[in-house]
């Protein structure tokens, strides 16, 4: 990384220049610097609406970058150690879809862990490829999905000659990392591509003692949520490619899924954030790491809670752990994670990232303050003092049910379907998604066999207060299944 060059922010500088020129707009957007919609100015401020503009010569064009966006993308590639970087304004969901669409086509298979984000499965509906799930281990106590091992992935590759790529979560939502380097080397020996979902891993590129990032491991593509740990605006994201990819083809794919009116607020925030990370990222994430470790220690000393960390690392299914993820197992105080999540918000005015059945996760980032971390720890101590009950037994093996894929997601999505009462769906093929939020991992996806265990798990998650999404019937009394059994 060239630090002198990283000190510049070409798109940001072009925006500043543009703002000072006071160009008269006879182009879109029609609010014309907010004048046509004064409430927008009240809400967002004049500066913000004043730079909500469309692509034009001095500001380049995202779908065919030649000047300032191109330079900003080149600097980003340099900062992340990638061959090429693409700015994305449709969220990391879009970046993930573009990764998948860049390597798969109808009839192909793609190897994924079950705790894959729904954006991957949605991309398969678009392109017609079929997922092959790796049977990853689950931590029986915590109820979280662990990483993939080299052997597990290789076994699946050998059994599935139609597979063209392997997707790796780096890290998972819970901070679990697979041995991405060895997996990548092995997958490449078999001639397949490696895609990394780094929605929760931007900081891995700027930390001294953090797990290895995908580009360093030699992965072919990585989807980076700059707006999560990177500090850019919500919905802005980055797609990175390594030297095994044709950047022009990837740009073509991106242009299929991306808007032709990309927001300059989002794009500029990517440019500024990249500069910030390149220049100050290491210090910032050092601080984040210290805060997370401090909070972990304090939470563990309350008693009853288990804020897990590097002690989970075992060299195989937990090859590495991202210590910036502050996850806490809550069942030993007799409360589900989702219950603690709700109490924190409703009674203590603290919004955390997610609560699932056994865990909560508090997102620690460059925007935190130590006094807020004290509040979080204090609130957890209070919840334990006021609400703790006998520890709950955790029926863990139900958490991750490896589905049997009967049809490709695309076939199932477009097949003739019928609505059946949920208990009568056992033995049928699902025609829709059922996801529990948080953490947004599919319990059922189109093309998968509905089993008794899956139905039980859906109803259990619903009863526990998870927001159930993806399915057509919000009450979940019925499911959409394929007519044909």
């Amino acid at each position: 990384m060239d630090l002198t060059k990283q000190a510049s922010a070409p798109l940001y500088e072009a925006m500043e220049k543009f703002r000072k020129k006071r160009i008269v707009p006879f182009d879109v957007p029609g609010h014309k610097r907010g004048r046509g919609n004064p409430e927008l100015i009240d809400l967002l401020g004049e500066r913000c609406v004043g730079i909500d503009v469309n692509s034009m010569k001095p500001l380049d064009n995202l779908s065919h970058p030649v000047s300032v966006i191109k330079e900003a993308e080149e600097l980003t590639a340099d900062a992340f150690g990638a061959e090429h970087a693409f700015f994305i304004v449709g969220g990391t969901t879009q970046a993930v879809q573009d990764m998948v669409l860049s390597v798969c086509k109808s009839g192909d298979e793609i190897i994924v862990p079950r705790n894959v984000h729904k954006s991957v499965l949605n991309a398969l509906i678009l392109c017609g490829a079929t997922p092959v799930y790796v049977n990853t281990e689950i931590d029986a106590r915590l109820g979280i999905v662990l990483g993939m091992t080299v052997e597990q992935v290789e076994e699946v590759i050998v059994a599935h000659p139609k597979a063209v790529a392997v997707l790796i979560n780096n890290p998972t939502y819970y901070g679990i990392c697979s041995d991405i380097k060895s997996i990548t080397d092995m997958v490449h020996r078999h001639g397949l591509k490696v895609l990394a979902d780094e929605a929760h891993g931007t900081h891995l590129y700027f930390g001294d003692h953090l797990p290895m990032n995908a580009m360093e491991a030699g992965a072919d593509m990585a989807a980076i949520s700059m707006h999560k740990s990177g500090g850019s605006l919500t919905q802005s994201s980055i797609l990175l490619t390594g030297n095994g990819m044709n950047a022009n083809y990837v740009q073509t794919i991106i242009n299929i899924t991306q808007t032709t009116s990309a927001s300059y607020l989002l794009l500029t925030s990517l440019d500024i954030s990249r500069r910030n990370l390149a220049l100050r990222g290491r210090q910032s994430f050092q601080k984040v790491t210290e805060w997370a470790e401090y909070a972990r220690e304090e939470i563990n000393s309350i008693g009853g809670y288990y804020a897990y960390g590097r002690e989970l690392v075992n060299g195989t299914s937990v090859y590495d752990f991202d210590v910036t993820k502050l996850c806490v197992f809550t069942r030993d105080i007799g409360l589900d994670g989702i219950e603690v999540y709700d109490i924190l918000r409703d009674e203590f005015d603290i919004q955390i990232e997610f609560g699932d059945i056994g865990n909560i996760m508090a997102y620690i980032s460059i925007g935190d303050r130590i006094q807020d971390i004290e509040r979080l720890v204090g609130a957890l101590a209070e919840i334990s003092r006021i609400y703790s009950k006998d520890g709950k037994q955790f029926e863990i093996d139900r958490q991750m049910l490896l589905p049997e894929v009967i049809k490709s997601p695309q076939e199932a999505f477009y097949a003739a379907k019928e609505r059946r009462r949920i208990h009568e769906c056992v033995g049928y093929v699902s025609g829709e998604f059922v996801m529990a939020y948080p953490p947004g991992i599919p319990i059922l996806a189109p093309g998968e066999l509905v089993t008794e265990d899956i139905v039980d798990y859906i109803l259990y998650s619903k009863e526990k207060g998870c927001s159930m999404q993806g399915q057509e019937d919000p009450s979940l009394q019925t499911l959409n299944v394929l007519k044909e059994r």
Partner: protein
């Protein structure tokens, strides 16, 4: 010379103090601290642009947060002051020989240093051998305290600034845990008059009311506070501030005051109707 300090008490109301000179300006890890010299209020200290105390009116709340609980709780031996790095509250407390230990938790060392330099008379309260100062976050300090204090005084005033963590349910709950079975918590309850202050005031009462069995609010007139009107909270596990009031005992102690009297004690709990109403509304939530 027209040299004025001004502070917005609401987005539409500005409070001004003519200043003779600025004595100090600095940025600590937590806040910006300034000290001014003024003809009307003497020296006064501000944090992030808001007045924290002035030489002329600080006696009012120092007395009100100390003597009100001391005239109710019969046997205060161990006291915790949250904030209070200026020493004003400690100064009132050291007048009671029966108190054995006073812990002061003030995270901001710069604040203590500035008070020692510019307000040495007030800071003298910190020199008493019974006083121990801790420079840590109060929530962190409280987490390790259980059944340890007879009286906790939260001297932090600003629910929107660096001390916002001391106006939260986790804070009040931690205080409850740190107090002995008959312990009392007294805290700055803000000003109920302007809109945004009213909301903070409501939130505080709701959180405390649902944490402590007894939760009453009392008032004082403090010229530098928003609208000149200020409330305090009296939260208690056992003693009621009026039913368990030990008027004669307190008067027999012969403590010197300039604001507090046992007559005023009763009156302070008699609130205007609009304040009573807003507090009652929160009690039902």
């Amino acid at each position: 010379m027209e040299f004025w300090f001004s502070e917005l008490h609401s987005p539409h109301v500005k409070f001004g103090i003519r200043v003779e000179k600025q004595l100090f300006s600095g940025q600590s890890d937590y806040q910006r601290i300034d000290v001014f010299e003024s003809p009307e209020f003497g020296k006064f200290l501000t944090m992030n642009g808001g007045v924290i105390f002035s030489e002329q009116d600080c006696f009012i709340y120092n007395e009100m947060v100390v003597h009100v609980p001391m005239a109710v709780h019969p046997n205060v031996k161990k006291v915790l002051i949250i904030g209070g790095g200026d020493g004003g509250v400690a100064m009132e407390l050291v007048q009671y020989p029966s108190i054995e230990e006073i812990d002061v938790v003030e995270q901001d060392e710069m604040f203590v240093d500035v008070c020692r330099e510019y307000f040495p008379e007030t800071a003298e309260g910190l020199e008493d051998p019974r006083v121990h100062m801790y420079h840590v976050d109060a929530l962190r300090f409280l987490r390790n305290q259980k059944d340890s204090y007879d009286l906790i005084i939260n001297d932090a005033t600003d629910p929107f600034g660096a001390s916002e963590g001391f106006f939260t349910r986790e804070f009040y709950g931690s205080c409850y845990k740190a107090l002995r079975e008959d312990g009392v918590l007294v805290y700055q309850h803000g000003s109920p008059f302007y809109d945004e202050d009213e909301e903070a005031c409501r939130n505080m009462h709701r959180k405390v009311y649902h944490t402590f069995p007894i939760s009453r609010v009392y008032q004082a007139h403090i010229p530098t506070s928003p609208s000149g009107y200020w409330l305090f909270g009296f939260a208690s596990k056992k003693y009621h501030p009026l039913q368990d009031f030990r008027e004669e005992e307190w008067n027999a102690r012969g403590i010197h005051t300039e604001y507090y009297t046992t007559n005023l004690h009763r009156g302070a709990f008699m609130l205007p109707k609009y304040v009573e109403e807003l507090l009652e509304e929160e009690e039902d939530r």
